[in-house]
């Protein structure tokens, strides 16, 4: 194992990658693969997931573009296509493939993508800041009570209704998070304002995690 066997930590994100292919010296159009000689560039794994997949570093993304880019990079890096290469090259393909898979998984899911981007931008983790938006817990407590009542009474329709309210709640939170990220991206303002925005995203994300957990319990019962 070499030094970079872990998924790229966001702390090291933003490092510059070489502009030229280490093997054939051709200029690199994208960080991971040399389009001239198809060699994998190991240092690409030091960059962030957005850059690795050739996407702008922002919350809103084009799902089709993510899929196409992922599939194309898989074609170049999958270990199955390096079976006749040296063990060293095979090992590189394995690591690159694992990193790509993790990058794709992170960016595909809106909540994981938001968490990752928040960390990249220097926001706090859920362990560091456990706050939720004002009034959120009250609403949740009410819903949980109603849900418990519906379940005790065997009212599946009412339980279904509450689950659907929760889903609406979750979607609303995600929309707000998207707007906050966009605001942060466009903000030309002092550090304090930007930090406030990140803190607000943190609180909204904590709320999403809460709703998601409740929903998985409700849906688990229904499944």
């Amino acid at each position: 194992m070499t030094d970079h066997n872990d998924a790229p930590a966001p702390a090291s994100a933003g490092k510059t990658i070489p502009f030229k292919c280490a093997k054939c010296d051709a200029p690199l159009g994208r960080p991971l693969v040399c389009d001239a000689c198809h060699t994998l560039n190991a240092s690409a794994m030091l960059t962030d997931y957005f850059t690795l997949l050739g996407l702008p570093r922002q919350y809103e993304l084009d799902g089709q573009q993510l899929h196409r880019s992922f599939i194309d990079l898989c074609r170049h890096s999958h270990p199955d296509h390096a079976q006749n290469d040296s063990p060293k090259v095979q090992e590189l393909h394995l690591r690159v493939s694992a990193t790509l898979n993790e990058a794709h998984r992170t960016l595909k899911d809106p909540v994981r993508r938001a968490e990752y981007l928040l960390e990249l931008l220097g926001g706090q983790s859920s362990a560091q800041d456990k706050r939720v938006p004002d009034g959120f817990l009250g609403t949740m407590m009410m819903m949980q009570e109603e849900l418990a009542e519906a379940k005790a009474g065997g009212d599946a329709r009412e339980a279904g209704r509450i689950a659907s309210v929760m889903r609406t709640q979750r979607d609303g939170l995600m929309k707000r998070i998207s707007n906050l990220f966009e605001e942060h991206r466009l903000a030309v303002s002092c550090e304090a304002v930007r930090k406030d925005l990140l803190d607000e995203i943190r609180r909204q994300l904590n709320a999403v995690a809460y709703v998601r957990k409740l929903l998985s319990q409700v849906e688990g019962v229904h499944a």
Binding site: N5, D6, A7, D80, N84, T99, E102, E219
Partner: protein
């Protein structure tokens, strides 16, 4: 036999049947015997002389010799005695506990691991392929149910090694099926593969675009299949037999094998006909006769089909899709011939199900395609699979701390940092788990390892990074290093339900040794058979035309035949071979005369102008 021409054999190692396939420039091709049969029943019969037969012959042997006929071994792979308690009820052969919480099958007093038994089936498949292709085969891609856990995958890989095969890849069966079905597909679409085999059920959701097969999610049950439907019929029959002939009636192993065979046949028949007649001879003039209707069978099968739909629902949820998003439903496995299965699945997905290719062969064909990819024959096709179950470690308090989530694309990697809790602690004990439950005790234990060589430091100071890697086979690899000192800690995982690397190595060595003995034994048997043919031919010819031989030739021939008869009694293949050659040579005068005679006879009665 010439060395392998780089051929990697694709093998579908099934609960009920197994078969091989290989890749050609024109596409994958199933290995068939001279009679055109591809399926080899995954059944082993152990003769009193220690000889093992595999396949159709072994299956025919089941009723007369129930205790030494072994089938459904796949159900035992990577399992403990506790895991298979339910199966023991219907399996006529005996099972006992093995090392590392595994099971051993009792064959004539000696315990055989499921790996060894599966290796015998794999070896038979390999020999068939070698006979069909005329080259030696040393590499294989073997398929497993997508929902197989780590221990079951490792056991399958070990079985391959024991069969003298380098297992280049373990591929999931539904994914293999998709590879075989969707070869020509160009457009971007989502498909579901519903695979209900003899003993296992899988559902996989895939997105296919331009030769890339991306598995989005998989779900299933490694203990649900045609065997369970057979068991429903067996339970029905035994219940009725007891009601008729007395509750105390005991079923011997032979009757149980017979019931199993009848149930299987009735199930198959009920796919094509509305009813099937079963007749069981219980001995002592007691004969049980029963006509089973399709409706009766469906009523008993329904709950199992409902279970599979539950798994379909979960797989769709994990893929983030609704039934309507699926553009094609592919049916795999013998049980998908059952009309009820087809009807229910079509209802669930709201579309017709697709079964154009033979559902028994499609998995092996897909394995051959993957073999072609690995051999570099197919660069335009790529398979991106997932791991079916989450992997994690036991946390303080007996919880399951997930490190890799189910349905993560493989290969995938996760790292976790550990530390020590007492000063100068030099080892850390780690328990690896697989499963979705919250408590460690409810998850499958994959193994334990002790991180040794931690440099002496105050408690909480060392930072040991452990990396869990699930490779493209879906098999877990663990490595560890201490970050402060950079010391690589040694990791030796002791499997909870399997063989250690050393045990497999020892078994491989032993099997090579045995393989040589086996080879010699086979050769001697073949030579004896041929020698008998030679002697018979000579004696027949002597009877017909012994008079044409000169006395000296006759004496020489008699001596050669006597020598050959003596040599046949020995175990020395070379001696038999030499004596046989000598006898053939001594008989040459006789055969030459015979040839002339044949020519004369042919010529008689024909006009010269005809020559």
């Amino acid at each position: 036999m010439p060395e392998t021409g780089g051929i990697i054999l694709g093998i579908d190692l099934g609960t009920t049947n197994s078969l091989g396939a290989y890749m050609t420039a024109a596409g994958p091709v199933v290995v068939r015997d001279a009679g055109g049969a591809a399926l080899v029943p995954s059944v082993l019969a152990f003769g009193p002389d220690g000889q093992v037969t595999v396949g159709r012959q072994a299956k025919a042997h089941a009723v007369e010799n129930p205790l030494s006929t072994i089938y459904s071994v796949k159900r035992l792979m990577g399992k403990s005695l506790k895991d298979v308690a339910e199966d023991l009820r219907v399996l006529p052969y005996a099972i006992k506990p093995g090392p590392n919480d595994t099971v051993l099958v009792d064959v004539a007093g000696s315990g055989r691991t499921p790996q060894e038994l599966s290796a015998m089936v794999l070896e038979d498949i390999r020999r068939r392929a070698e006979a069909a292709l005329g080259v030696k085969i040393t590499q294989a891609v073997i398929t497993v149910p997508a929902y197989f856990d780590d221990a079951q995958r490792q056991a399958t890989r070990d079985a391959g090694r024991l069969a003298g095969l380098e297992v280049r890849r373990i591929v999931n069966e539904p994914t293999a099926a998709a590879l075989a079905y969707g070869l020509d597909r160009k457009s971007d679409s989502c498909i579901a593969v519903y695979d209900l085999g003899g003993g296992t059920f899988d559902i996989s959701i895939l997105r296919c675009s331009e030769g890339v097969f991306q598995v989005l999610s998989t779900n299933g049950d490694t203990r649900l299949g045609g065997d369970d439907l057979d068991r429903e019929l067996i339970d029905m029959l035994t219940g009725e037999i007891r009601a008729r002939f007395g509750e105390e009636l005991e079923f011997g192993p032979a009757t149980r094998q017979a019931l199993k065979a009848f149930a299987e046949e009735a199930k198959v028949r009920l796919s094509d006909y509305q009813q099937a007649k079963v007749q069981v001879d219980l001995g002592g003039g007691r004969v049980f006769e029963r006509i089973i209707t399709r409706d009766e069978f469906e009523a008993r099968a329904a709950k199992w089909i409902d279970h599979t739909l539950e798994h379909c629902r979960r797989a769709l949820a994990d893929a983030g899709l609704a039934p309507g998003d699926i553009e094609e439903v592919v049916m795999v496995g013998g049980c998908t011939r059952i009309p009820l299965v087809r009807r229910r699945i079509a209802e669930f997905f709201g579309r017709n199900v697709y079964t154009a290719v033979n559902p028994d062969e499609v998995v092996a064909l897909g394995a051959a395609v993957q073999a072609g990819i690995l051999a570099g024959m197919k660069r335009d096709t790529l398979l991106l699979d997932v791991t079916p179950l989450s992997v994690g470690i036991e946390t303080l308090g007996g919880g399951m701390g997930k490190l890799i989530m189910r349905n993560s694309a493989v290969p995938c990697m996760a790292s976790e940092t550990f530390t020590t809790c007492i000063d100068n602690q030099s080892a850390v004990d780690i328990h690896i788990l697989q499963g979705e439950r919250e408590l460690a005790a409810d998850c499958r234990s994959l193994g334990r390892f002790v991180l040794r060589g931690v440099p002496p430091m105050p408690a909480g100071m060392p930072r040991i990074s452990v990396t869990f890697l699930i490779d493209a086979n879906g098999i877990l690899n663990v490595s560890a290093r201490e970050l402060k000192s950079g010391v690589e800690a040694s990791v030796q995982v002791t499997p909870s339900h399997g063989l250690t690397a050393q045990q497999v190595d020892a078994m491989v060595k032993e099997s090579y040794a045995h393989a040589m003995e086996d080879f010699e034994a086979h050769r001697v048997i073949d030579l004896r058979n041929e020698a008998t043919r030679v002697i018979n031919a000579i004696e027949k010819a002597l009877g017909a035309r012994g008079h044409v031989l000169a006395a000296s030739d006759r004496a020489r021939l008699d001596q050669a035949v006597a020598d050959l008869k003596a040599a046949m009694k020995s175990e020395d293949g070379d001696a038999i071979d030499a004596a046989m050659r000598a006898a053939n040579e001594a008989a040459q005068a006789l055969t030459a005369d015979q040839m002339n005679d044949v020519l004369r006879q042919t010529a008689t009665g024909r006009k010269i102008s005809e020559f």
